[in-house]
């Protein structure tokens, strides 16, 4: 009795000029019907390529399987013919991808794309195909299936596109569904819905699901069994309970320890001095309109936003995409111009200030950016990137250099970084450089716009610790933007929740988590995957064993 999917001793070779010879080595993994197996790892672990290898979707010939077998019900897919693979794809084994916008053909309707699955595997008439397609769209709970069939991908939201992809994948009742980070690009509330959908569909159809992810919270919520990958090797496997509560391998233990608890940090005394006050901030975007454009669209990115920040405090602004949290951050740093309201830093209202008037105040409020790969000028050396701030404000070259070296030490980088270029550093290191740059002008307020969202979870923990240290050492006041409630819980003293431009609720972290008043806040908290896991006592217990 052969297993549904049995991967044995799999080796996936990379082209000669790559950093390592194998993307995946000596991999053993199996999947049974009616279970969800999560393959979890950080970037570069090889998890995505494993998924593609099963379906024969590796970018041959540069990347290929050169050893091992992938047995699907006894048949080796690694050596199967192209025709056979084509037969299996879509009907016996299906796949859904991470980015629903690019994964769907932008010039074909959803209906046509679903139709294709039927046309290439089954002999149904046009009418039958259409009614089956409608049924599928209803199953995945798309609001208006008739309309969705005729719609183009860009006319649906991210969550709806992903549902359409799930419909396509489950159209012919496949035995295996491979999901390659399908919820990573979605908002947390949408993610919760899609995960629920996948679990339901899996239970109804009895499909075996191979779910790739980097998010342990997701693993905790849906997986029956887990495989942890590091640099192409499977370092640990087991049931969810075993791996998450009692990890054996040091890498797994480290990863799990790095996942922030969904429990608020201990409260710290709040200073009475208000260092930044935002009153009724308003920023609206208008587009379209005009003679032939019909009515224009108005988006209230920041709608009557009021916040305050005490000295030494970290205020978190939490929200999903489109909530306006980034807009508010950028207005505060005066990268955007808000049209109404006040931004009081001390006694000065920064909002109406022109560029020249703003300049002397710039040093007091600085920003750390989200994307470590875009926030440093690729053609400028690190030393110059950090030193140019102080030099613009009158420091001599020598003073600026000294300060830069000090900062490099504070953020944990070697002096030799001074003469290097950004591309020589990893994402986490670049983020440290970004922090050093922000600190160079000795600001009072630091605005951090999703500073760890683009980083792997283990690096994330390091950067969050660094920010903590710096904040204590320099008595900085911080505004921390994030969409991740776990991170917010670890780092913020108070949290403001935003939705569609409005501040829904503000309060100390502990109170917000224990007794959220607004419905939306409750929804947000409920949607966080893996609640009840990754508590610090568990981690301590596991390491003691």
């Amino acid at each position: 009795m052969s297993r549904l999917l049995d991967i044995t001793d799999l080796h996936i070779a990379l082209p000669p000029e790559s950093q390592r010879p194998y993307a995946v080595q000596k991999m053993n993994l199996h999947l049974e019907p009616n279970e969800i197996v999560c393959v979890v790892g950080e970037s570069g672990s090889g998890k995505s390529l494993t998924a593609r290898a099963v379906m024969g979707l590796l970018p041959k010939p540069r990347v290929r399987i050169n050893q091992g077998s992938v047995l699907f019900q006894g048949e080796d897919l690694a050596t199967a013919s192209d025709d056979r693979l084509r037969q299996i794809r879509g009907s016996d084994i299906s796949m859904i991808f991470q980015e629903p916008m690019t994964a769907l053909n932008p010039v074909m309707t959803i209906g046509t794309q679903i139709d294709e699955v039927f046309r290439f595997h089954d002999k149904m008439s046009g009418k039958e195909r259409r009614s089956r397609a409608l049924e599928l769209l209803r199953d995945v709970q798309l609001p208006d299936p008739e309309q969705a069939l005729k719609a183009y991908p860009h006319e649906l939201s991210g969550g709806q596109r992903q549902r359409a992809m799930i419909a396509m994948a489950l159209a012919l009742d496949p035995k295996i569904l491979i999901a390659d980070e399908p919820t990573t690009a979605l908002d947390v509330t949408t993610q919760a819905q899609v995960l629920k959908l996948i679990k339901e569909m899996q239970a109804t159809h009895g499909t075996g699901v191979l779910f790739i992810t980097h998010d342990f919270g997701v693993v905790a919520d849906i997986a029956h069994r887990v495989a942890v990958m590091q640099n192409g090797l499977v370092v640990e496997t087991g049931t969810t309970d075993q791996v998450l509560r009692n990890p054996q391998h040091p890498y797994t233990q480290g990863l799990i320890a790095a996942v922030p608890e969904l429990a608020p940090r201990a409260a710290r005394p709040r200073s009475t001095e208000t260092v930044l006050k935002v009153n009724n901030l308003q920023k609206t975007y208008r587009s379209g309109g005009g003679l032939f454009g019909g009515k224009g669209r108005e988006v209230h990115a920041a709608n009557d936003v009021t916040l305050d920040l005490a000295r030494g405090e970290t205020l978190g602004i939490v929200g999903e995409s489109g909530s306006g949290k980034s807009t508010v951050a950028r207005c505060i740093v005066r990268l955007n111009d808000a049209e109404a309201g006040e931004i009081l830093l001390g006694d000065t209202d920064l909002r109406p200030l022109g560029r020249a008037a703003m300049r002397p105040h710039r040093s007091k409020i600085q920003m750390v950016f989200q994307d470590p790969y875009a926030s440093l000028n690729p053609r400028t050396r690190i030393g110059k990137i950090i030193a140019q701030g102080p030099m613009m404000y009158g420091a001599s070259a020598e003073e600026a250099r000294k300060r830069t070296l000090e900062l490099l030490e504070i953020v944990g980088l070697d002096n030799r970084a001074y003469d290097r270029f950004p591309h020589e550093f990893s994402g986490g290191q670049r983020q440290r450089i970004g922090i050093a740059r922000a600190l160079a002008l000795e600001p009072e307020v630091l605005v951090a716009d999703e500073p760890v969202s683009a980083l792997d979870v283990s690096i994330q923990a390091q950067i969050l610790n660094l920010l903590d240290e710096i904040r204590d050492r320099m008595n900085l006041s911080m505004i921390f933007i994030t969409h991740d409630l776990r991170v917010a819980a670890q780092v913020c003293d108070r949290i403001a929740v935003m939705q569609r431009g409005k501040v829904i609720e503000v309060g100390p972290t502990a109170e917000l988590f224990a007794a959220p008043k607004a419905t939306y806040t409750q929804e947000l908290l409920a949607a966080v995957p893996g609640k009840g896991w990754f508590l610090k006592e568990d981690a301590v217990q596991a390491q003691a064993t």
């Binding site: 875009a374 926030s375 440093l376 690729p378 140019q388």
Partner: protein, 276 residues
């Protein structure tokens, strides 16, 4: 040094570079090998290639075709380079301002480039040269005028996308002045596509110049390949060589420049080469 290594991986580009160097050499030493004025009507007319001491033959007025080609190389390369430099400079300035500031300036630039796109550029060039009376200067100006919009559009696009990049935003938070941001932060990061388009533009400039010369709008004091072909039109039946060889010269030069341009592109954007 890595630039040259990457460049050399493209064999076509290397061939192009060699051809280009040869042609430049020929242009530079034209007076050495062909000391007489190429317009002089000294020798035996209608002489086929290889006879009477003419390497590539002579035309109906006794002008040496080979001498014409050697001296014509000077004209074409000179005009090609100058016109491109002017066009690239103007294009960068206009494109940078439009892409960085947006708004009214951008609108104005976009309308202007649309207007230039609507006027057939070759006819516009003819117009300009005729008005300014044909000369090296007027031809350079005319070609530059019809060529800068392409550069401006490219630079505008780059500035538009780079001005919202986070490292530029970081410069704003430092209070950096606009000019410094444009010149020091953004411009160095968009030079690669500009260099590529510039090198290909030299080829286009040479084609326009020879077209103008063919129609009789070339500088009357400078020998040009286009002029030779234009003068040899009526001799197609009897002296085919008068038209053929200068044409081959144009073909080789433009081809060489295109190959070098592609080599530069490959060297500056190495990731695109993975598409084998």
């Amino acid at each position: 040094m890595t630039f040259w290594k990457l460049f050399a991986r493209n064999r076509g580009a290397v061939v192009g570079l060699i051809i280009l160097l040869l042609i430049t050499f020929m242009a530079a030493t034209a007076s050495l090998f062909f000391p007489e004025d190429p317009f002089s009507l000294a020798g035996q007319p209608m002489s086929p290639p290889g006879e009477n001491g003419y390497l590539l033959g002579s035309d109906s007025l006794g002008r040496d075709v080979a001498a014409g080609i050697a001296h014509g190389a000077k004209t074409s390369l000179l005009i090609g380079l100058l016109a491109t430099l002017v066009a690239v400079f103007v294009g960068i300035v206009m494109g940078a301002l439009a892409g960085y500031y947006g708004g009214v300036i951008d609108n104005l630039l976009m309308r202007t480039t649309e207007m230039f796109q609507t006027i057939p550029s070759f006819i516009f060039a003819i117009l300009l040269v005729a008005i300014m009376k044909p000369s090296i200067e007027s031809i350079v100006i005319a070609i530059a005028v019809v060529s800068w919009p392409a550069v401006a559009r490219l630079v505008r696009g780059e500035f538009l996308s780079l001005r919202n990049r986070e490292f530029v935003q970081a410069c704003h938070t430092l209070g950096m002045a606009d000019i410094r941001i444009m010149l020091g932060e953004i411009l160095p990061n968009c030079l690669s596509p500009v260099i590529v388009i510039g090198s290909l533009m030299v080829a286009t400039a040479i084609l326009i110049e020879s077209g103008l010369a063919f129609l009789g709008l070339g500088d009357p004091n400078s020998m040009s390949w286009g002029f030779q072909i234009g003068a040899g039109r009526t001799l197609l039946r009897s002296a085919w060589w008068v038209c053929t060889f200068p044409g081959i010269a144009i073909l080789l030069t433009v081809l060489a420049i295109n190959l070098v341009g592609e080599g530069i592109n490959d060297a500056l954007n190495p990731r695109l080469r993975e598409r084998t």
